[in-house]
Amino acid sequence: MSRFSPSLPVPSVASSYPGGARRAAARWRPGLASQPLHSEIFAPGHQACGVGLALALARDALKAAADSADAARRHVLWVQDRAAIRLGGRPYLHGLPADLRYRVIHVAATSPEDALFAMEEGLKCRDLACVIGEVAGNPRTLDFTASRRLSLAAERAGIALWLVRLDAAPDLSSARMRWRAAAAPSLPPRWNPTAPGAGRWHAELFRARAHLPGEWMLSDDAGALRAERVSPLAASPPDHGDLADGSGARSLAAG
């Protein structure tokens, strides 16, 4: 961890953001203690990578914020609208991560309005660990006002929401972090080289309030989220966490 001392000149990029200048320059990495509570993940509808990434991020955040003993027993609300169920199916108990297997409560909403209602109700509930939503496409009701409602509800209750948008265009939203996910070739398994291995996702953080955008190859390694930095330039050095680098290239208007 690098420490800024007052005598050093503050990087100019940080001074352009009012409030949280140091946080603004920090890069996202797995295991951050203070995660934003409302994230969106855009994913193709014919893959399960979106919800896979959402579950991995949710477990990472829950592990980082494990405050009390009963946090590990709280339920996870998984809301899907009908179009999302048709595109990607329902959760399957035997394929869920072992620590979430018996904690999932599934809500099958008929319309995006009902899915939004269910997510907001879940965010108001103090006994839930987190809420995972899946909404297909760009429904008219999921506009900026609706996402703002979700952000406010999440921040009031302190419960995280991961909203997976299947086959959707990144429209206006107040989500604090917005990811774009796609499946990546899986890790080679240990024994059978011709078999598919543990899942890996190509995740692009294209809009975040407190972090710089970037691309990672994320994978779930026995409950721990592993991130590998992908740089647009092939020959760039690997990521070293939030060591101060000359990242003046944060785009505000991405998305």
Binding site: Y92, A108, A118, E121, K124, L128, P196
Partner: protein, 523 residues
Amino acid sequence: MAIWLMDLALDRWRQVNRLARGEGADAAPLALISDTAHGPRIDAVNPAARAAGAAAGMRLADARALCPALAAVPSDPAGDLACLEKLALWAQRWGPWSALDPPDGLLVDTTGASHLFGGEARLLADLAAAFGQRGFAARAALAPTAGAAWALAHFAAHSRAQPAILAPGDDPMRLLGDLPVAALRLDGDVITVLRRLGLKRIGDLVGLGEGGDPAAARDALQRRFRNRKSPATNPLIRLDQLLGLVPEPLLPVVAQPMPLVQRQVTEPIRHRALLDRVLADLAADLQRELAARGSGARRVELLLWRVDGEVIMRRLELAAATRDPAHLIGLLAAKLDGIDAGFGIETLRLCASWCEPLHAAQADIEAAAEAHGTTLAGCLDRLAVRLGAGAVTRPVPHPSHWPERAQRWQAPLESEPASQGMLNFHQRPLKLLDKPESIAVLYAAPDGSPQRFRWRGQVRDVVRVEGPERIAPEWWRERSTARLRDYYRIEDSCGARYWIYRHGLVGDGRGGAPLWFLHGLYA
């Protein structure tokens, strides 16, 4: 006191069809039947059928051979039991405590209550009249123990001059000794054994036969039935219960009146604001009612009587027992949208038709934590009210190897069914499609695994594959023509991983060329 309703099933059938005894359809031979593994079996017959040769316990086909005109009506054992429960409560008019004696008997404790009816004989006469008025054929007997009363009710000779009453001071064997051993409430095979041993009457068991020694008879029976521990299989235990030497615990029937609150308004309600106000009063009343019993409501019914005679009903099911008036009002308000008050609502009733124990709990000491958010049960209730009861579910394992049947959906707060630990030999997909989608395999490797396929209009190349994992259909449930599935885990060139299967084998004789389906998506 034991009451035996001799023809409970038939009496109920007559009441349902509004027939008097021996009238209309009851004049012809008729039997109540239930379906068994060996075909329909007769549960009860009416007098005309009995005269024609049919009897309870026969198969319908055998009875039809004797009496071709025999009409068959399905019996209703659940309805009979419900009727018996109601009769058990009603029979508390003769004593403070009653118990069921299924399938067709009742036990009432009349200790110290017979003088209210003018003596025991008059009590029995009153009972016969009361049951006769309700259309049930009943026989009753009074005795110091339940076993003796049961034996007398079922097997003693009944007449008006000599009612079946065993007074506490009497010698029990005077009345009971001549009854057959079936009066001891024993299982059929034990009765057969006793009959083969030559012990036909209760008196034979206690050694009252000619030249019998009571101690020797008891010793012999003790040795013969030393392995039988349950009362219904051991005649000695039953005999001791009959004589009152060992206690016989019985489970009483206790009436549980439904918590119910009601308001009648002088001026019929026509506007929603007033209705909400009265509803809030009712919910507060219901909370007091439930708190006094230490229970919470799982199902609440709201009935609104309109001036013109219409009744509007709204039903609410809750995920966990609650009596919080604010919660109930919030849920009911969502159900009352679009209600038609007509000329006004004059009576409102709120009843909790399903209650569960809910004891007063310590509220959160910190008031802020209470106000912070809803509880899980409250959240699920609100979701269920808006989205429908079936929309909020939880996956639970089910003992099956067939992928769709290996998980089931149940209400979220119900306890999980007992299940065996899972064997994680195979990786299962994160999500399963509701219905497997057909895919067109364009090119398959010589070993049968697909190399290129089309799904949802897009051609995908398979890069890595693992399989097959053969899953055979459950032959004990499926038809013999059900085909097996060969599952493959595959990964396409862009990294998406799927669970696909081939439905059947070439040449398995269960259909044409096997088709391919995509069933699940891996994360």
